[in-house]
Amino acid sequence: MEAGEDVVLAVEALSKRYGSLVAVDGISFQVRRGETFGILGPNGAGKTTTLEMIEGLRTPDGGHITLLGLDAVRQRRSVQDRIGVQLQSQALWPELTVEETLKTFSALFRRRLSLEMMMERFSLVDKRRSLVRDLSGGQKQRLSVATALVNDPEVVFLDEPTTGLDPQARRSFWDLIHDMSGEGKTVIVTTHYMEEAEELCERVAIMDHGRIMAMDSPRELVRGLDFDNTVECTFAGSVERERLLALPAVHDVKKENGAHFLFTTDVSATLAGLMGLTDGNGERVQSLQVRTATLEDVFISLTGRRLRD
């Protein structure tokens, strides 16, 4: 990030431990105003703990958070007045109606948007007098996002917002995030879906075991790989890693759940070698998949593991 840019969130050497477990291990990053920033990582990587410290739900053990020019720990309430948060669970009162829910959240903030407008925007007008317990999953999801936006926040935090949604609901949720971004809001989103990070985020921090392994735009992260394509294959019988590494143009090999990932700079040369390998030694390729390198490959090459299993 260039110096002098409008930094809305600056995290420095942030850490949190639970007993002997180090959940967040001294991470630092900055987010620009208006940016959509992703934290990508598997479950247990420390994404949620990081967000919770920034949002004021947990007190950090070390480090410093500056959000909207304020100390996010000491001036927590002032910060919370200007941010919007959607937690992993859709925390809504089942006994209240849509309108009562929005009115209640709205009353907690100094700055308030018109509730009519919010219900209009999230297609909840027809449901205004329905109890939350009677809403469909998608309606609950929309209401939950609406509660995060009632105070017209400058920064919006979304913790794994599309986990458990079907592909279509996920798509329409992505549109919502594009809209927020279009309004100039800064969006910080955690996810373990690499497609989501690629689709939404201008920059991504890849997190594992409480640390940031890499941070850049999705395109640059992929470009930074020493290979262009990945050949994912499984074999009947076992194949030694050395023999795969010796194949033409193969840069690195990782094994995960029985599948081999061959990172290659020249697909055709590698494939030709792979065919030769199986012909000559009686091993059979069971499945084969060639694809352009993605964020998933960045993660695999950094950690040796896939994002989700």
């Binding site: 002032s78 919370q80 941010i83 669970s89 809504l92 009162w93 009353a107 907690l108």
Partner: protein, 359 residues
């Protein structure tokens, strides 16, 4: 926190409580059913008792009065000597001893006679029934035999002169019980919200724990006040239970009771994690408290239990309620119970604000 957010939180929490029907219906139904059962079906006031008559005048007038006591339902009447019957009364065999003194006929001829009646003071439930029965007999004797309504005046010779029927005793106890059940339930509510992630969600807004607790206290007070009104209105119109004391002192007592029970509920919620465990602990706290706190029966506890009974908030809530409702007590009678309830409030809330967790 501004007024608007406080009012909104009070309103929605009262709404949530109202829509969780089981929450408030159960306790109020328990109170109403208890009053119906003990007020009508198993009224301990109408239990039979023995009455002894001592005729020291041996006149025609005294004989007719003694005869007037014959044939009353539920009352076993006998005659004897003053010393013997007074001894029986001391031994707890009698509900009362009525003495027709020497010179009764002459006094009656002179326009007014007194009739000393000695009551067994050890049983507050029975006393009301006994006094009512004796007074009714004397009243009808005056009207029908003498033909002059104040001819014979009953002179009560008991330490306690209050006419407390069982339903009078029970009604404030039911108020106390209802207040206890509903407000201990705040622990259940809070842990449910924590489990549902609602507390976490509120924790990322500018809302402070103290403000949330204050708004909960307000909405629970409103709900409790309505329940108390239902119980007292039913007591008054169905069972003639009068409120002798001031409504202001009653409101203060109920408010202190609400706060004390809330504080216990909060401490339970702060210490436990799951809805099931909170439920179990609240029941474990509430049931013994309901009986030890004398909501139903005027227990004479074994000495070992006395410190415990004197410490629990329901005892003092019930005591203060009975003081106001039954005896029309003032500040001088109420301050001790109020102080003990206030200690619970301060200690409980102090502890729960410190222990409060959003998640």
């Amino acid at each position: 926190m501004n007024v608007r957010s406080f009012v909104q939180l009070v309103v929605i929490q009262a709404t949530i409580l109202r829509r969780n029907t089981g929450f408030w219906v159960t306790s109020i139904m328990t109170a109403v059913l208890s009053m119906a059962v003990f007020g009508w079906l198993f009224n301990p006031d109408t239990q039979p008792f023995d009455l002894a008559l001592v005729d020291e005048d041996h006149s025609q007038a005294s004989r007719s009065l003694v005869e007037a006591f014959g044939g009353i339902d539920n009352v076993e009447v006998r005659e004897g000597s003053r010393d013997g019957e007074m001894a029986s009364l001391q031994d707890g065999e009698l509900g009362a001893v009525v003495i027709v003194p020497e010179g009764f006929a002459d006094d009656l001829g002179g326009g007014s006679a007194t009739l000393p009646v000695f009551y067994d003071n050890s049983n507050p439930i029975r006393i009301g029934y006994v006094t009512t029965t004796v007074n009714a007999v004397v009243d009808s004797y005056n009207d029908e035999v003498v033909g002059q309504s104040s001819a014979v005046t009953v002179q009560q010779q008991a330490v306690s002169t209050q006419r407390v029927r069982f339903i009078d005793f029970l009604t404030p106890g039911m108020v106390g019980m209802t207040v206890m059940w509903v407000n201990l339930g705040v622990g259940f509510l809070l842990v449910t919200w924590r489990e549902q992630g609602i507390l976490r969600r509120l924790g990322v807004t500018p809302l402070r724990p103290g403000s949330l607790i204050a708004s909960q206290a307000a909405s629970f007070s409103i709900v409790s006040l309505m329940q108390v009104t239902v119980v007292l209105v039913m007591g008054h119109f169905v069972f003639d239970v009068d409120i002798h004391g001031s409504f202001l002192w009653l409101a203060v007592t109920v408010f202190l009771g609400v706060m004390a029970m809330l504080s216990v509920g909060y401490v339970v919620a702060s210490l436990l994690k799951t809805v099931t465990s909170v439920n179990a602990v609240i029941n474990l706290v509430a049931f013994p408290m309901m009986f030890l706190g004398r909501s139903y029966f005027p227990l004479e506890p074994p000495p070992a239990l006395k410190p415990l009974i004197e410490a629990i908030p329901l005892t003092h809530l019930n005591d203060a309620l009975r003081e106001v409702v039954n005896r029309g007590g003032g500040l001088g009678d109420l301050w001790l119970s109020w102080t003990i309830l206030a200690v619970w409030v301060v200690a409980g809330f102090g502890l729960s604000v410190r222990l409060f967790r959003w998640q």
